[in-house]
C-alpha cells in the first residue's frame, strides 16, 4: 500500500488517489498542425521507466487537486511530491 503526501491534505492512503500517468507532457497547442506521428506520440507513448519517474496524481477522494510525484517504480519509494507547474526535480533528492 502506498501512502502519498497530498500537498494540501497531507499523507493519505493510495485508495484516495487517482493515477494520472506521465507528468510534464504538453498537449500540442495546435493539434491540426502536428503530424500523425507527433499526435500519436502525445496520446499513446508515455514514459515507462524502470526506476525513478515523474507522475501525475489526483487526490480524487479528497481535495480533488492534481500534483506531481517523483516515484521509483521498482522500490515504490516516493522521492518527492511537488505541485503542478513546478519543474521536474533533479533525481538526486
Amino acid at each position: 500500500m502506498l501512502q502519498l503526501e497530498c500537498p494540501w491534505c497531507g499523507p493519505r492512503d493510495e485508495e484516495e488517489f487517482t493515477y494520472g500517468g506521465e507528468a510534464h507532457i504538453t498537449r500540442p497547442p495546435e493539434p491540426d498542425a502536428v503530424s500523425d506521428a507527433a499526435w500519436g506520440d502525445y496520446l499513446f507513448f508515455h514514459t515507462n521507466t524502470r526506476g525513478l519517474q515523474s507522475e501525475q496524481w489526483c487526490h480524487s477522494h479528497g481535495c480533488r487537486r492534481w500534483f506531481n510525484v517523483a516515484r521509483d517504480t521498482v522500490t515504490y519509494r516516493i522521492h518527492r511530491v511537488y505541485r503542478m507547474g513546478e519543474p521536474r526535480p533533479g533525481f538526486d533528492a
Partner: protein
Amino acid sequence: MNRYSILSLVRNALSHHENWQQAWRSPEPKPRYDAIVVGGGGHGLATAYYLAKNHGLTNVAVLEKGWLGGGNTGRNTTIVRSNYLWDEAAWLYDKSLRLWEGLTRDINYNVMFSQRGVFNLAHTLQDVRDTWRRVNANRLNGIDAEFVTPEQIKAMVPAINTSPDARYPILGASLQRRAGVARHDGVAWGLARAADARGVDIIQNCEVTGIRREDGRVTGVETSRGFIAAPKVGVVVAGHASVLADMAGFRLPVTSHPLQALVSEPVKPVLDSVIMSNQVHGYVSQSDKGELVIGAGIDAYQGYGQRGSFPVVEHTLAAIKELFPIFSRMRMLRQWGGIVDVTPDACPILGKTPVDGLYFNCGWGTGGFKATPGSGWAFAHTIAHDAPHELNAPFSLDRFVTGHLIDEHGAAGVAH
C-alpha cells in the same frame, strides 16, 4: 527425445524413474545464431518452437534472464478463451485456442488443457446488451458462444449466488464452452522440451543488457554471458518490453503494471468451470489440486515490483465473495504479482520495429497466457518472413500513429 507415452511410463517405472532423459539441454551459448528469441516465457518458447517446426529455423537460441516460466507464464490464472469482440482480436485468439486444442499431442507433453467452459457474467442491463453483442460477434466469426440465463448458470454452477436480491444481481452470462484452463508451467516446460528436440538452444540465467545495431539493423545482443550475434532478434519480455525497447532506441506505447493473483487452501471439487465478472471485477476457477485460483485487475499505477497493492486484493476478494458467498471463509494461501505491459487499446503489439531484423511481441497486458501458442505461431512467421502474418498484421506498432486501434477494453480489457 524420448517420447512420453504410457509405455515409456511403464518402462521407467521398472527402473524406479531413475532413467528419465532430461527434458531439455542447457547448452553454452554459441557465438552466433540465425535468430535469437529474448524471453523464455510461454510466448518466447512457443516462438522458438514454431520457428523450428513451421519455418525450419533451428539455429535459434532462447535467452531467459531467470528460469523458464518464472515470469508471467507461471504467475497467471491460466484462463484460455477466445471470445473477443473485434474481428482482428477474435481471429488471433481463436487461432491460439485452436492450437491449444491440439497442443498436448503436438508437443507430446500434457499441458492439461481443460475445456471446462468460461462464463463472463452480466450484472446490469448494459452488461446484458454488451454480452449479447459479443456473443453475436463471436458467432459471426465462427467462435462458439451462447447467452445463458441466471437459471441456466445456477444449474451448471450450483455454488454461485444468482439471487435477484444480490447487490449486483447476475442477469445472464456469455458461455464459451471451448474455453478453459491449462497447466501454465507445464506449457513452458512442454514447449521448451519440444523446441529443444528440434535443435533450439534454451539458455537460462542469461540476461540481455543491450541490443547491438549497425546502420539501423540489429546485429546481435549483449548479454550477461557475452555478446551473441544474430541477424534476427525477437523480443518477448512482457512487462519489461519498454526496457528492451530503450536499449534499441525506440519507444513503445505500453505501461507496466503489477497484476496479482492468489490461491486459496485446497478444497474438494466445488467449481468445474471458470467464472469471470467485469462488473464486480474478479475471476475464479478451481485447480486440479483443489485451490481456488483468483485474480482481478492491475494496480492503477505503473510499477515493476513483482508484488501487488493490498487494496486490489481486498477488492478482488470482495467481488469473489459477492459471487460466491460460500467462499467467504476460505483462507488464502499464496498471493503474488507479475508485471504486465498494457497498451492503450488492450491489444498486443506483434510485429516489426523501427530497427531492421528486430521484432517485438508485447503488450498482451493482463491476458497473454491464452494467446501463448497463437502468439508464438504468428511471431515465428513474422521473424521468419520479415513480415507479419495476416493474423498479426493489424497488431503493428504503427497503429498508434495511424489511429487504427483495436479497442478491446470493453469486451476483454478488464477481466482475464
